[in-house]
């Protein structure tokens, strides 16, 4: 069993209004060091596969067809437990 961590974020060219609102709020609370915030989603998948190579195509398909909307978002993934 593999544990795979997937991160999905809005693409850098797309305005992240939630991130902006959080930035303003934390700076308002005195955290002046925070210059930017981007919000994303984090998924942990338990994948029934022996290694990353054998699961790669399936994970890519999951990321592009389901976990992210490629029109808006980028993703990265890594195996965190094997």
């Amino acid at each position: 069993m593999l544990k795979v961590h997937v991160l999905v974020h809005l693409r850098p060219d797309i305005m992240d209004v939630q991130g902006q609102a959080i930035r303003e709020a934390v700076r308002g609370a005195g955290h002046d060091v925070v210059d930017g915030v981007r919000v994303g989603k984090s998924f942990y998948l338990d994948i029934d596969a022996r290694d990353a190579d054998s699961a790669r195509d399936e994970i890519e398909k999951l990321c592009t067809e389901t976990l992210s909307n490629p029109l808006l978002e980028d993703y990265t993934w890594e195996v965190v437990e094997q």
């Binding site: 797309i14 305005m15 209004v17 939630q18 609102a21 389901t66 909307n69 029109l71 808006l72």
Partner: protein, 232 residues
């Protein structure tokens, strides 16, 4: 011949009865409700994908509904030329299903907007406006959404502009930043597929079907669908 209607229902849909009431009681047509695990019957002429929070808006608004079994039959209907309208969450579902260009994001204001808006017709070749709207005409319909910010990436922006059917405008028909309630690119409120038989729009025509509740501009869209759907 009058058109037969279907309204698709997902767990979390909450505007399906508005559609059923508008079609059955106001328009006087036969309408079937189709659960997300079933198929839309083949002999249906018009399909409505209603608003709400299908699957709790989990993952992305409309994304899980787009993968549900009923959508295979909706896609088959789209290919056959059946008239399909997706409103609010239904618009999000149709984008996520790849039946319409673009995607919907959080409103730039981060506020849920629940107001009447003015819409300008951008085309007059559409079965959704045939016989009552010419290009530039203005109608008034309510919106109620937090995820209505329409976006099309570089590769789809041309299609979105060409296929835009409604834009957010003022009472005088002027399309400006100040008349954009959610940050949508080019003020787009409603867009069709290339063939023109699938429409997604954030405003709710099914909530503007009787003078008593604020106007009948929405009913005219349903009437146009009904006439054109019955012809096909």
């Amino acid at each position: 011949m009058s058109a037969r209607w279907a309204v698709v229902v997902f767990p979390g849909s909450n505007c399906e009865q508005d559609f059923v009431t508008a079609v059955r009681d106001v328009l006087g047509r036969e309408v079937v409700e189709v659960w997300h695990k079933d198929e839309v019957p083949e002999d249906v002429d018009c399909i409505a994908i209603p608003g709400g929070f299908s699957y709790g808006d989990y993952l992305r608004a409309g994304s899980l509904a787009a993968m549900s079994p009923v959508m295979q039959s909706v896609k088959a209907h789209a290919e056959r030329g059946t008239l399909i309208i997706g409103v609010c969450n239904g618009f999000q579902v149709l984008c996520e299903a790849g039946l319409l260009p673009g995607a919907l994001m959080k409103n730039t204001s981060l506020r849920f907007r629940c107001i009447d808006v003015f819409l300008r017709a951008e085309r007059e070749d559409s079965p959704f406006t045939a016989g009552f709207l010419k290009k530039g005409d203005v109608i008034r319909i309510p919106i109620a959404h937090g995820y209505g910010n329409y976006y099309a990436p570089a590769g789809q922006i041309g299609a979105a502009e060409k296929q835009a059917l409604f834009t957010y405008c003022g009472a005088d028909g002027r399309v400006e930043d100040s008349t954009n309630p959610n940050g949508s690119v080019m003020n787009i409120a409603g867009v069709t597929n290339e063939r023109g038989n699938v429409l997604g729009m954030m405003p709710h025509p099914e909530r503007a079907v009787e003078a008593l509740i604020g106007g009948t501009d929405g009913l005219n869209i349903l009437k146009a669908m009904d006439r054109e759907g019955a012809k096909a």
